[in-house]
């Protein structure tokens, strides 16, 4: 049964595996982080490819500004980023409102430091497939139109794709059980657009900034998907930094990180690229207290215990 040809095959298999392994260096080796590397990460709320492009540029910019090694570590789900922040695998993270609160509750002394101009005044948009026949409305009570419709959120832990929308739906008297079937959790804002556009779900909700940016890029077919309502404003995305970075990189490091972001200037073409990818005009300072409302809402619907 086991003729020499098969042995030859097995050896060839090992050999080719060995060769291929040499050709492609281990992925871990490429990202091997030295102890004095400032590791940043972000919640995976958009296409991973877009995130890689954006945070690659952010890392380069911070490296130049701060004079330390900066590495972006991609993470696959919301809870995993919070956890990595808690264990200290990453030093600073671009969190959503909810995940930022969850992370700070688990790391004593962690601070919300910087956010975009739009985050202080953030909105979600409810969208619908045009064929569903849901008319746009201005008042929150219009959300009752979702009753008996199929509907998808973004990620379970998304502030703009789940937490605040569910809060507003509750306020309008729409319970999840009023929807047709169970609500979906698409996983990301981009996927929410695509699923509603394709008609998989009649309606969905996502972060307004992602919506605007995809609209501007011409990636949305507005004949197929329309905005039906824009939520009131709330605080959302922000950078949260671990308190121990000052021990690692010296006192005043957090202040220097803040300065680096505040120095981003739309008039400078290199800066503008980053700002555009963030969908912002500029960065502003923020503080932990801005998120007290988010925390309250999260406790109310059980996302913080």
């Amino acid at each position: 049964m086991f003729r020499p040809s098969k042995i030859g095959f097995a050896l060839a298999l090992c050999a080719s595996a060995a060769l291929a392994a040499c050709a492609a260096p281990p992925p871990a080796a490429r990202q091997a982080a030295q102890p004095q590397t400032f590791v940043i990460s972000a919640i995976p709320d958009q296409d991973p490819e877009k995130l890689n492009r954006l945070y690659g540029k952010v890392s380069d910019y911070l490296k130049e500004q701060l004079g330390v090694q900066v590495v972006y570590k991609p993470v696959t789900d919301y809870a995993a980023v919070v956890n990595a922040f808690r264990t200290g695998d990453v030093d600073m993270v671009w969190f959503g409102g909810l995940t930022g609160v969850q992370a700070r509750l688990q790391v004593d002394g962690a601070q919300a430091i910087i956010q975009r101009d739009i985050d202080a005044n953030f909105h979600s948009v409810f969208i619908a497939n045009a064929a569903a026949g849901i008319q746009p409305f201005d008042d929150i009570s219009g959300l009752t139109a979702l009753k008996g419709r199929t509907f998808t959120f973004g990620s379970e832990s998304s502030t703009s794709g789940r937490l605040m929308p569910q809060f507003f739906m509750n306020k309008a008297g729409v319970a999840l059980s009023d929807l047709k079937g169970e609500p979906g959790f698409s996983g990301s804002h981009d996927k929410t657009i695509k699923l509603v556009e394709a008609g998989t779900y009649e309606a969905g909700v996502l972060n307004e900034q992602v919506w605007k940016s995809r609209l501007a890029a011409g990636e949305v077919d507005t004949n197929k998907v329309i905005v039906i309502w824009r939520t009131p404003a709330y605080y959302d995305y922000h950078w949260v930094v671990r308190p121990d970075v000052e021990q690692k990189f010296g006192a005043g490091f957090i202040q220097r990180v803040k300065q680096a972001f505040l120095a981003l200037d739309a008039a400078n073409p290199a800066h503008k690229e980053i700002l555009d990818l963030f969908g912002a005009q500029k960065f502003i300072e923020t503080k932990n207290e801005n998120y007290a409302d988010i925390e309250a809402v999260a406790r109310q619907i059980g996302k913080i215990k």
């Binding site: 049964m1 086991f2 003729r3 098969k6 042995i7 095959f9 097995a10 050896l11 298999l13 090992c14 595996a17 060995a18 291929a20 392994a21 492609a24 281990p26 992925p27 871990a28 080796a29 091997a32 296409d47 991973p48 490819e49 570590k73 993470v75 696959t76 789900d77 809870a79 995993a80 956890n83 990595a84 264990t87 200290g88 695998d89 969850q102 509750l105 688990q106 199929t150 379970e156 832990s157 047709k180 079937g181 169970e182 609500p183 979906g184 959790f185 996983g187 990301s188 981009d190 996927k191 695509k194 394709a198 008609g199 998989t200 779900y201 009649e202 059980g302 996302k303 913080i304 215990k305």
Partner: protein
């Protein structure tokens, strides 16, 4: 273990012993099973409205249309190659760990080891003692927890490190392997071992010469079966973030880039197919044609050492050992786990931290009520999924068994069904779930379907193998007596293979139960979905309670499955 389920040719009458004993012992099992399947269908929500989301068909069409145009740009092919190597390297590293655990654990939980240490092992009063019992029980818990859950916990303790994937794969696999290894060791004939022990040889040395060489073909053959499983599990761990093919497939699916996805799935198909094929050939050379012997002690297993052809067997073993010696360090180098983390003070601190958060479990009345209803749902998912997979598995297994005569039509059907089954099992259950969620609303049913499709691929192949190894004489005798091939099949082949097929189905039920969790992660229903919510809410008291519910459920299913397999023997 009766010979009735073994593949040893024995039954020569047309109404074989297996069927008769099956009908006798199995009637209760049959009735209970049918009732359970009916209940599970209702529980899983089969008869509830709002199942199919018609809006999703467009995406499904797009998905299948993309199969014709896979992404073939050099960059992406390179990425696919890299992802394939990562998955393979994780599988090998995890498997290596699991074999070490399996070997040590298998020895310590085998009867023969503890008996060998007793001076008068053939005496009427010889007993096993408590170390054996302790070893047995210590292995039960890691076995009951799915690799993905291990992964989620280890990542909290060890951080983002390849070590997590290796341990998440190696620990539960090690416990499963230990159980099977101990069974193999206990079933290996002990005459030579006893001769050596009676001559005053110490236990370890006596086993080295008297028992292990004889068990080795079966141990190796099972290890290869575990490699097939390890590749599937490494892919699933990829889906939850370890990287490799599973991760890339998830990314492509999340961004709805189907062409990329098909390229990745093709790579997975090739990797999985090659492993299965290699494993089948090596097993044959070792004289152990059965991929997996779930019937505890079939005498065919014990005879593998004798049946193996001397030269091909030992040469195959030598090649395997050489391959393992090369591939294991290579894989470890490729994934680069930080072994230092195992002993780092930070690890201990985080472990303590996590345990503090996990206890006490949230056993508030409201949560317990939720857990009960979700446990019922989860159980229903597993029953419904495996019933479906088993039914179609049996139907597809017959065309999937290698036809005796190489007629063109039969060969064509054989190849088509084999590729279909490979496709079903190569794609991890969570990816199936994501695809099914395009056209179905979230809930237990899509999860059950995903588990069903994945297990169909595994069961179909296992049963096909049972058909291939079955005694062909009864069917041939019927054909010679003028029966049509359909009649020969019904009276000759089916009765012989049915008990073994059912044993496989019950065995996969145990696995299906564990898999409910991972389809839950991607939004299908049951306890897995609850666990996802709790993990994303950092509600660790709740997580502990859910895990306890899962453990209890798993133990119940294992007990029922073992009892059912015993009854239909």
């Amino acid at each position: 273990m009766s010979s009735s389920l073994s593949s040893t040719p024995r039954a020569t009458t047309w109404a074989p012993q297996p069927l008769r004993s099956f009908l006798k012992g199995g009637r209760l099992v049959a009735i209970v099973t049918l009732l359970a399947v009916a209940w599970s269908a209702i529980q899983a929500g089969l008869f509830r409205g709002d199942l199919i989301n018609v809006g999703g068909w467009a995406l499904v069409r797009q998905f299948f249309a993309a199969a014709l145009r896979p992404e073939l740009s050099p960059d992406f092919l390179l990425l696919t190659l890299e992802a394939t190597l990562v998955t393979f390297a994780y599988a090998i590293s995890g498997l290596a760990l699991s074999l070490v655990i399996g070997f040590v654990g298998g020895l310590l939980s085998s009867e023969v080891w503890w008996l060998s240490r007793r001076p008068h092992r053939q005496s009427p009063t010889a007993t096993l003692g408590s170390p054996w019992l302790i070893a047995r029980s210590a292995l039960a818990v890691p076995r009951a927890i799915h690799e993905a859950i291990w992964g989620l916990f280890l990542v909290r303790i060890l951080g983002l490190d390849p070590l997590v994937a290796i341990l998440a794969l190696g620990l539960p696999f090690g416990a499963i392997t230990a159980k099977v290894f101990s069974e193999i060791l206990d079933e290996t004939p002990r005459d030579a071992l006893h001769a050596l022990l009676n001559g005053g040889a110490p236990p370890a040395r006596a086993m080295l010469y008297g028992l292990l060489p004889r068990a080795l073909p079966n141990l190796t053959s099972y290890s290869f079966y575990r490699l097939e499983c390890a590749i599937r599990s490494a892919t699933v761990l990829g889906v939850i973030g370890a990287g490799g093919l599973g991760y890339q497939i998830l990314l492509s699916l999340q961004s709805l880039r189907y062409q990329e996805m098909w390229t990745l799935m093709a790579a997975l198909l090739v990797l999985s197919g090659l492993t299965d094929w290699l494993s089948a050939h090596i097993r044959h050379a070792l004289g152990a044609p059965t991929r997996l012997d779930v019937n505890l002690g079939a005498d065919c297993a014990a005879e593998a050492a004798v049946r193996a052809r001397a030269t091909s067997g030992s040469r195959a073993l030598a090649v395997l050992l050489a391959a393992a010696a090369v591939l294991t360090p290579l894989s470890l180098w490729y994934v680069q786990p930080d072994l230092g983390k195992l002993f780092a003070p930070r690890t201990t601190m985080l472990l303590g931290d996590m345990l503090r958060q996990m206890f006490p479990p949230d056993l508030s009345p409201a949560n317990v009520v939720t857990l009960f209803s979700l446990s019922a749902q989860t159980l229903a998912m597993s029953v419904f999924a495996i019933a479906l997979a088993g039914l179609f598995g049996i139907l597809l297994a017959y065309p999937a068994a290698h036809p005796a005569r190489r007629a063109r039509g039969a060969m064509l059907a054989y190849s088509a069904v084999r590729v279909f089954l490979l496709f079903c099992r190569a794609i991890p259950a969570p990816v199936w779930a994501l695809l099914i969620l395009f056209v179905m609303f979230p809930g237990p049913l899509p999860g059950a379907l995903a588990i069903a499709v994945h297990n169909l691929g595994i069961l179909g192949r296992l049963i096909a193998e049972a058909v291939e190894n079955a005694d062909k004489r009864p069917a041939a005798a019927l054909r010679h007596a003028g029966a049509s091939s359909a009649q020969a099949f019904l009276y000759g082949t089916l009765p012989i293979t049915l008990p073994q097929s059912l044993a496989y189905i019950f065995y996969r039920w145990e696995i299906g139960m564990r898999e409910t969790v991972i389809v839950g992660f991607v939004g299908a229903g049951g306890l897995g979905r609850l666990l996802t919510e709790q993990l994303s809410s950092f509600d660790y008291g709740g997580v502990t309670a859910t895990l306890i519910a899962l453990l209890i459920l798993t133990f119940i299913v294992d007990l029922l499955s073992t009892a059912a397999r015993r009854a239909i023997r």
